[in-house]
C-alpha cells in the first residue's frame, strides 16, 4: 500500500526494538549468505580460502569509497566525484611519493588530506553556494578526471622504487597468514566509520540533516558547517581509496575511476541506505559492497559468458533487494 504509515507506540520499545534491530541487521546478511551458498554448491573453485580473500580484496576499493559515500547519502546528498577523484588522489600520491620523493608516511597523509580537500570544495559548493549535490559533485568529477590527466601527463606513475607502498595493499601484516593488508585496512576503516556514524556528534548530525534539514537548522545546529564537514570527511575516503588502488596496482592510473561512483553508490543503496537521506549504516554498506563483489566473482568462477554476467547480476540485485523489502515489511 502506498501510504502505509509506520507507527509504534507511545509505550515503547527499549528492549524489544533493540533486539529486533540487531536481528534485522543479521538477516540483512541473508541475501549475501544465499548467494554464497549457491556459488559454493555451483562451483568447486568458489568455496576456498584463496577465493574468499580474493573476494574481500576486490571489495576494498569500492568498499572504501562506499563507506565515505554512506555519510554523504545519509545527509540526503550524493557524491559523483568519488570515482575520478580517486584517480586524481592516486596520481597525487604518485606525485608526493615518487615525484617529490616525500617520506612514505608524509605522502600518505598528504594524499588522504588531498581527498579531504576535494570533499571540502564539494561541501562548500553545496552548503554555502547551495549548488545541488548532484551538480556540484558532477562538476568535481569532470574536474578531477581532467586534472588526473594533466598532473600525471596522461601516463601512469609507477611506484617501482617504493616497495613499501605496494605492501600497504598486498603485504601480509599477519605473519604466516595469507591475508592481504588491504582487507585489514578496509575493516579498520569500516570500524572507525561505524563508530563515528553511531557514536559521535558528526554521525548524529549526519542523520539529522538527512532526516529534516530545516528542523535541524532550527534546532540551532549550523547545518552548513556540518554538511561541509561531512563532505570533507567523505573526501578522506576518496584519498584513502586512491592509495589503496594505486598500492594494489603498483601504479597510479590517471584514466581509471570513472564508473566506480555508480558501483559505490549502488553498494550503499543495496545496503539499505536511502537516497532520500536520514537512514543507513556502515554494516549495510559493507554487505552491499560484498554482494556486488561476490556476484562478480562467482559468476566468473562459474564461467558464465560475460555478456550474460551483467544480465544475471542485474536480476540478482533486484531479487536481493526485493526480498530485503519483503523481510522488512514482515518484521
Amino acid at each position: 500500500m502506498v501510504t502505509t504509515r509506520e507507527k509504534s507506540g507511545v509505550a515503547g520499545r527499549p528492549v524489544g526494538a533493540v533486539v529486533k534491530g540487531r536481528l534485522q541487521q543479521l538477516l540483512a546478511f541473508a541475501s549475501l549468505i544465499v548467494i554464497f551458498a549457491f556459488f559454493s554448491v555451483a562451483s568447486p573453485f568458489f568455496f576456498t580460502y584463496g577465493n574468499f580473500t580474493a573476494i574481500l580484496f576486490s571489495t576494498v576499493v569500492i568498499g572504501t569509497l562506499a563507506i565515505g559515500t554512506t555519510f554523504v547519502i545519509i545527509t540526503g546528498g550524493i557524491d559523483l566525484s568519488i570515482g575520478t577523484g580517486m584517480a586524481l588522489c592516486a596520481v597525487m600520491s604518485g606525485v608526493f611519493i615518487v615525484n617529490l620523493d616525500l617520506p612514505l608516511a608524509v605522502g600518505l597523509v598528504a594524499t588522504v588530506l588531498f581527498g579531504g580537500l576535494m570533499g571540502l570544495v564539494n561541501g562548500i559548493n553545496i552548503a554555502l553556494l547551495k549548488i545541488p549535490p548532484f551538480i556540484a559533485t558532477l562538476a568535481m568529477m569532470l574536474v578531477a578526471e581532467g586534472l588526473a590527466l594533466v598532473v600525471s601527463g596522461s601516463a601512469p606513475i609507477y611506484f617501482s622504487e617504493e616497495p613499501a607502498y605496494t605492501k600497504i595493499s598486498t603485504g601480509n601484516l599477519i605473519p604466516g597468514v595469507d591475508f592481504p593488508n588491504a582487507v585489514i585496512v578496509l575493516i579498520v576503516v569500516a570500524v572507525i566509520a561505524g563508530v563515528l556514524l553511531t557514536k559521535t556528534v558528526l554521525g548524529r548530525y549526519t542523520y539529522s540533516i538527512g532526516s529534516n534539514e530545516e528542523a535541524t537548522a532550527l534546532s540551532g545546529i549550523d547545518v552548513r558547517k556540518w554538511k561541509i564537514a561531512v563532505y570533507a570527511f567523505a573526501g578522506l575516503f576518496i584519498g584513502l581509496a586512491g592509495i589503496m588502488i594505486s598500492a594494489r596496482l603498483g601504479s597510479a592510473q590517471p584514466a581509471t575511476g570513472m564508473g566506480y561512483e555508480l558501483q559505490a553508490i549502488a553498494a550503499v543503496v543495496i545496503g539499505g541506505t536511502s537516497l532520500s537521506g536520514g537512514k543507513g549504516s556502515i554494516v549495510g554498506t559493507l554487505i552491499g559492497a560484498l554482494i556486488i563483489s561476490t556476484l562478480n566473482n562467482g559468476l566468473q568462477i562459474m564461467s558464465i559468458p560475460q555478456e550474460w554476467q551483467n544480465v544475471i547480476l542485474g536480476c540478482v540485485i533486484l531479487v536481493a533487494v526485493y526480498t530485503d523489502i519483503l523481510r522488512k515489511k514482515e518484521a
Partner: protein, 299 residues
Amino acid sequence: AEGGGAGGGGGQPYIAIVSKGFQHQFWQAVKQGAEEEASKQGARVTFVGPPTEADVEEQINMLTNDIAKSPDALGFAALDSQAAEPLLQQAKSQDIPVIAFDSGVDSDVPLTTVSTDNKAAAAEAAKHMAELVGGSGKVAMVVHDQTSQSGTQRRDGFLEWMEQNAPDIEVLDPQYGGGDQLESANITKSIVSSNPDLKGIYASNEGSAIGVIKGVQESGKQGLQLVGFDSGKAQVDAIRNGTMAGAVTQDPVNMGRQLVIAAMKAINGEDLPETVDTGFKWYDQTNVDDPEIAAVLYD
C-alpha cells in the same frame, strides 16, 4: 598438465583468457578466433575483459578469479604489466602456463607473446596519409584513448612517423573520443569547422573511424583524406565507396587463433617461439576484395 576445467568437459583442456576489453569489435574478433581454434583442438576457452582499457583494477580482479579456477593455460593481455606481475608469479607457482597477447607483458612469466605492433601499424597509416595529402598540409587525429597502450601507441606511432618523415605536414593536437562513435563524430565536426584548411583525418580504432566518417559526411566537407584503423563493416563499406581512403587492420581473429595454438602447445609441453607476430595490413579500395585482405577483415 592436469585437465578438467570448471563444471564439465571432463578431460578437455581449459584455457582462460583475460583480455583488455570485451564489448568492442576488436576484442570480439579475438574471442571469435580463440573459440574457433579451441573447438578445432577440442579445448574449452573462457574470454573476459573489462569494459574499458582504463579499468586496470577490474582486469586484475578478473585475472585473480580466472587463476582461482586453475586453468590449464592462461591467455593474458595486460592493461598494466606491473599491476599483474604478482598474479603472474602466482600462476607460475601453480604451474599454469601464461601466454601474453596483443601487447607484450613486461614480465618473464609468459612463455610467448602473440602480438601485434601497434606503433608500426600506426606508422603505416601515417605513411599512407602523407602520400594521400601530398606530403604537406594540416592533418587531424581522432584517437580512442589517451592512456591505454593501444591508444598511445597508435597515436605515437603516427606522430613519430610524421615528425621524422613528413616535416611539412602539420598534425593537430590529438582529440580523444573514447572510441564512442557519437562522441567521435561530434569531435570531428568541430575539427572540420574550426580548420577549414584541413586535408586529412586519422582515426585510431573502429569506433573513432566510424565517428570520423559520420562527422565528415554530416559536415558536408568534400575532399578530406580519411585514414582509419581496424575493420568492421561500416569502415569497409566506407573504403569501398571512397569515403575513407584506407585503413590499417591488424588480424585479431588470427591473434585469437594463435593464442590458443600457443596455449595448447604449452599445455602439451612443446617449445614455443619467443614471439608470434600476427601482423597488420593496409587496405584500401584497390585491395579490399583481395582474398588475403578479406581474410583479415572482420565484421
